[in-house]
Amino acid sequence: MANNSILVVGGGFSGITSALEAAEVGYEVFIVEKNPYLGGRVAQLNQYFPKLCPPSCGLEIQFQRIRNNPKVNYFTQAEVTRVTGAPGDYEVTVKLSPRHVNEKCTACGACAEAATTELPCEFDLGLGMRKAAYRPNIFAFPMRYVLTKEACGKDELAKIKASCVYGAIDLDDAPREIKLNVGAVVWATGWKPYDMQRLENLGAGKIGNVISNMQMERLAAPNGPTGGKILRPSDAAEPKRVAFVQCAGSRDENHLNFCSYICCMASLKQATYIRERYPKAQVTIYYIDLRTPGRYDNFMKKVTADENLHLVKGKVAAIVEHAATGDAVVTVENAVTGIKSDERFDLVVLATGMQPSLAGATVAGLHIDEDGFVTSAPGTGMVASGCAKLPLDVMKSAQTATAAALKAIQTVAGR
């Protein structure tokens, strides 16, 4: 049966954009998102470069558009497990994981108060803890709590259930499968931060005061584990000397065989986070090339005019922990002077790159290259949007997402 609705896999910025842009021409869309909330990576960011504005500002508009448009359907804690069929006529199997909190939830927070078990917070990338019954974040859409049932004992579950006077806790909630019939599929599966554990020479994620750039976003965010204070994880001290290590995984054939596009701008942006909070802090960025394309040149010039910001062209060879202080000792060779040195920092930020979420995955009918990017030719009914296609910043993701919406419409129009 031919069908003119569109499936969007992924409810991050690209997926939401593709879905809305198609829905606002009148097409029915289904967003399938694996997190319990929409917004994806950008929801975790403190600010966007180069405007240094909060991502929730644009997301709020997107959520308003979703609220006002009955053509937009979405599923959270959902994953596409199977796609069969052909352009214009796909059958998609979606697995829905149990939330254990139903639509009666008023987001009053009683269940979180009743819960005692604490787990590392996924949204804060492990930097903070959350209750077993929790609100995914202060800006969550939909605003509904989630219960990690398997982490709690019987008694605790009983207490949590009893705490909800609205009957929203559903301990019997079980995985379900649904089928959707759609005419086209937009893959907006985005990216994940490259796993620090694989960067053995850079501490393999085991040095307390070596964090990833995404973790830095959480530290700087007002809804983060520190309320926006940038404190180093080992002892909650205010960092005075901070280093950024660019290309932590990127531009490296042993890790990510491409440039992740955003990390140079992200580190410059994060340098402003530090400098704004700590007027005396010294920041060093170790880079191969400072990639600030197009009009980002203005931002680069503005940020690098700061005399407390030091740019060093050189690849970091190793990072080890200074046992007595918890400092990180960075071994680096200056590519211009040839001088090799060890430098001590209070905090080191690894500019870990973007690994496509689909890296290593296989999806029938979808072409994925060896790095994990979708390479399906347009016109096949399967179209990539945002960082599933190639590494991009938010603005360019929105451009490709809008383009992907059109490609999907071209597949389904008139069916």
Binding site: E24, K51, E60, F258, T400
Partner: protein
């Protein structure tokens, strides 16, 4: 205007425990019983049973509106979805969850229940708001569906095909005699598709043929857009072809007029024009296209070519765009009729820096040309930062694998010509040594890309606010958006830029950008046909209605509309163009005669809500009162989140959400002050170059109007500090309560509004 309203007050989420909801119901019955045939309290209003009861009430009592006093409209929106006008009164977040018990303690001791007073006032505000609202009934227009594409280069051709592929007729206008644009002059292209490793054919011939062969596309060459009059869905484009002008009925426009090579004089500091064998990348491309790479001095194939990407020497004086460029006769001054004001030319050396991604990629490509044409040739690339972000890193890697391509970081300090016409490039801080000299037969300097809109209006709008995009200065001439999240949104509805006139970009990026712009054009036409607004109030059916009888032709609305929606006639009477409008209400805020209104948002409505604020006669008994007009897009959600975090704020403030601060009419402030309210806070978005206002100018305009209000207050003997505007972001939920607190402290210090009690 709603006449039969159902009012429901929820007691869930601790509301009933803290607020006398029965008392509130009684007060609604007492004051507005006539308008409210149904007034109920409910233990859990969002429960399926309660929602079903509301639906039944609507049917049974033929209600035309419901007023739901419960949680924020940002939650449970899917549950509280009814077919009648619906007003959500936020008594959970704005009253119960954010109630400041400590500040209220002295009042509580006197038996004053500040929390119930507050919830009751908000409830009454919600009711009167509905009595001043009706369901918008927009005109659905029969519009033009044809899309106009300006520019017949790679982006324009792609956009035309993309729009045609979803069934739209396209008129494509190209100034030159042939289609193809800049790509026609290219020998080859940098990678256009995965795996992004190899130089490839531009494919422009195929693209031109596809456009030529497409029955839906009318390609006009040797043609120019003379004027674009009207409004989205209703444009008339006057296009001149071979000296004859024709009118075309157009729905929406894609601007793909691309770029022009930057004036080579910007490269003079690096020897262009003085050293014979220094050429530009554009000139080098032309040589390759012609088939022979030849040194200008002797016409011989160079054995070594240095591609110098570090152009720091040319960027030394980055300010001061060229004043003379418009008068420069190097380019034929087409369409340069003496207008009222000279076009602000924004070409500058900055465009060289902005083109860095392209110039790096082009150097890699052209190094390959030399290697292709001269197998023993040596290509040297000197860069500051090799600007090849993303997957084009793979292309860079491929170049590194060629032993005939030498790449080094370096800061170029000077170029000198030798007696035999060779060039010595002096580099500092290179990877090959601190100071090195590269000897080569020829030097290629990058060609900066300057958007066509840096030189001329291009879109030639017949709008009162002028023919061009209004914010070009912010973007150094690019027809860009200031929104990271919304790259196609500008201040001109229905006109969408794509390709290098939009931002500097590769052809691969331009292909996506063209498709994106095509969708926005299609979407704009579709929205107009359904009578709804486009971004950011997508789907909104309301539109401003003008009562011209009282209009004094003061022109404020026509001047202040951020989207140039209003033209005017000879007398100065505004002529609305609803399809240009984004429904922000800035015109409504601007109008001193209050002649502009929306069915569901108007001056009278908010004024009536303000009148529902109770003002205690004495500050000592019941506290001061402050009205806070808050932007519904950012300040309001921030307050919601503050309440979620159980942050308390003064019980003496009352919030009224507004579409945008731009819609705030000074009369609201005047009414509040004359009523004895002690102060007015305006919470809106950041303005300035990095503005965050979703309607571009709203918060900025409000601030300007506030200055006038302050003047008037001063004349009346009221301290102007009592009315102030604050720039807040959506994530400043921790700061806003603090702002309120310090404002309240100021009010406490100043004492009561001198008008109190009058």
């Amino acid at each position: 205007m709603a006449e039969k309203i159902g009012v429901y007050i929820c007691g869930g989420c601790d509301i009933a425990a803290a607020v006398n909801i029965e008392g509130i119901a009684a007060s609604v019955k007492n004051k507005y019983g006539g308008n409210c045939p149904v007034i109920k309290t409910d233990a859990v209003l969002c429960s399926p049973e309660s929602v079903a009861r509301i639906k039944a009430d609507v049917k049974e009592n033929a209600l035309d509106a419901v007023c739901l006093c419960a949680c924020s409209p940002r939650v449970k929106w899917d549950v509280f979805a009814f077919d009648v006008l619906t007003e959500r009164v936020n008594i959970r977040e704005f009253c119960v969850w954010s109630f400041d018990k400590q500040t209220s303690a002295p009042d509580a001791a006197k038996g004053i229940d500040n929390l119930t007073i507050m919830a009751q006032e908000y409830t009454l505000m919600g009711v009167v708001k509905l009595t001043k609202s009706s369901v918008p009934d927009p005109e659905t227009l029969t519009t033009n569906k044809t899309i106009l594409v300006l520019g017949g280069g790679f982006t324009g051709l792609t956009a035309a095909l993309e729009a045609a592929a979803v069934g739209h007729e396209v008129v494509l206008v190209e100034r030159k005699a042939e289609l193809g644009g800049r790509a026609l002059g290219m020998y080859k292209s940098i990678p256009l598709a995965p795996p992004y490793t190899e130089t490839q054919d531009t494919g422009i011939d195929k693209l031109v043929a596809a456009v030529r062969g497409n029955a839906k596309i009318k390609a006009l060459t040797s043609s120019e857009l003379k004027s674009l009059g009207g409004a989205p869905g209703l444009y008339t484009a006057q296009i001149e072809t071979g000296g004859a002008a024709h009118d075309y009925a157009i729905g929406a426009v894609i601007v793909a007029t691309g770029w022009e090579p930057q004036a080579a004089e910007f490269l003079a500091p690096m020897g262009y024009g003085s050293i014979r064998n220094v050429v530009t990348a554009a000139e080098f491309e032309a040589m390759a296209k012609k088939g022979a790479i030849a040194r200008p001095s002797d016409g011989k194939m160079p054995a070594s070519v240095a591609f110098v990407l570090d152009v720091g020497m040319c960027l030394a004086t980055p300010e001061a765009p060229r004043e003379d460029a418009c008068a420069n006769p190097a380019e034929p001054a087409e369409g340069a009729e003496a207008g009222p004001a000279p076009y602000p030319n924004t070409e500058s050396c900055k465009h060289l820096a902005y083109s860095s991604e392209l110039t790096s990629l082009v150097a890699l490509k052209q190094a390959g040309y030399l290697r292709e044409k001269n197998e023993n040739g040596l290509a040297m690339i000197v860069y500051d930062h090799m600007m090849v972000p993303g997957l084009n890193e793979r292309y860079y890697k491929a170049a590194q694998d060629d032993p005939g391509v030498m790449l080094t970081k370096g800061t170029v300090a000077g170029l000198t010509e030798t007696a035999n016409g060779q060039i010595v490039v002096n580099c500092r801080d290179s990877l090959l040594g601190e100071n090195i000299e590269l000897l080569c037969d020829m030097v290629v300097l990058p060609t900066g890309m300057v958007p066509t809109t840096a030189h001329e209006p291009t879109v030639n709008l017949v709008y009162r606010q002028g023919p061009q995009f209004p914010d070009l200065g912010l973007f150094d001439g690019f027809a860009d958006s200031n929104y990271i999240c919304f790259p196609y949104e500008t201040r001109r509805t229905g006109v969408y830029a794509a390709g290098c006139v939009h931002q500097p970009m590769t052809m691969a990026q331009a292909a996506d950008d063209a498709a994106g712009a095509a969708l926005k054009a299609v979407q704009c036409i579709s929205s107009i046909n359904r009578g709804v607004a486009v971004h950011p109030r997508s789907g909104d059916k309301s539109y401003p209605v003008f009562n011209f009888v009282r209009c004094t032709q003061c022109k404020r609305c026509t001047e202040e509309c951020p989207f140039g929606a209003l033209d005017d006639d000879e007398k100065g009477t505004p002529k609305p163009n609803p399809t240009r409008c984004r429904r922000c209400g800035t015109c409504m805020g601007a109008c001193p005669e209050r002649v502009i209104s929306f069915d569901n948002y108007n001056v009278d409505q908010i004024g009536t809500m303000i009148r529902e604020m109770g003002v205690p006669a004495k500050i000592e008994e019941g506290g001061p009162r402050v009205l806070i007009l808050a932007c519904e897009n950012d300040a309001y959600p921030a307050l919601d989140m503050a309440a979620f975090r159980k942050t308390a704020w003064s019980p003496y403030v009352r919030f009224i959400p507004v579409r945008c601060l731009g819609s705030v009419n000074a009369i609201w402030v005047a009414d509040a002050m004359s009523k004895g309210i002690d102060g007015v806070m305006l919470l809106g978005c950041k303005y300035g170059d990095d503005y965050q206002c979703h309607f571009v100018k709203g918060s900025e305009l409000c601030n300007r109007r506030k200055e006038n209000i302050a003047e008037s207050l001063k004349r009346l003997g009221v301290e102007p500090e009592r009315v102030d505007q604050y720039q807040v972001s959506i994530d400043e939920y921790d700061r806003i309560p603090a702002l309120i607190e310090s404002f309240m402290d100021m009010i406490k210090e100043k004492g009561p509004n001198p008008f109190k009690g009058y």
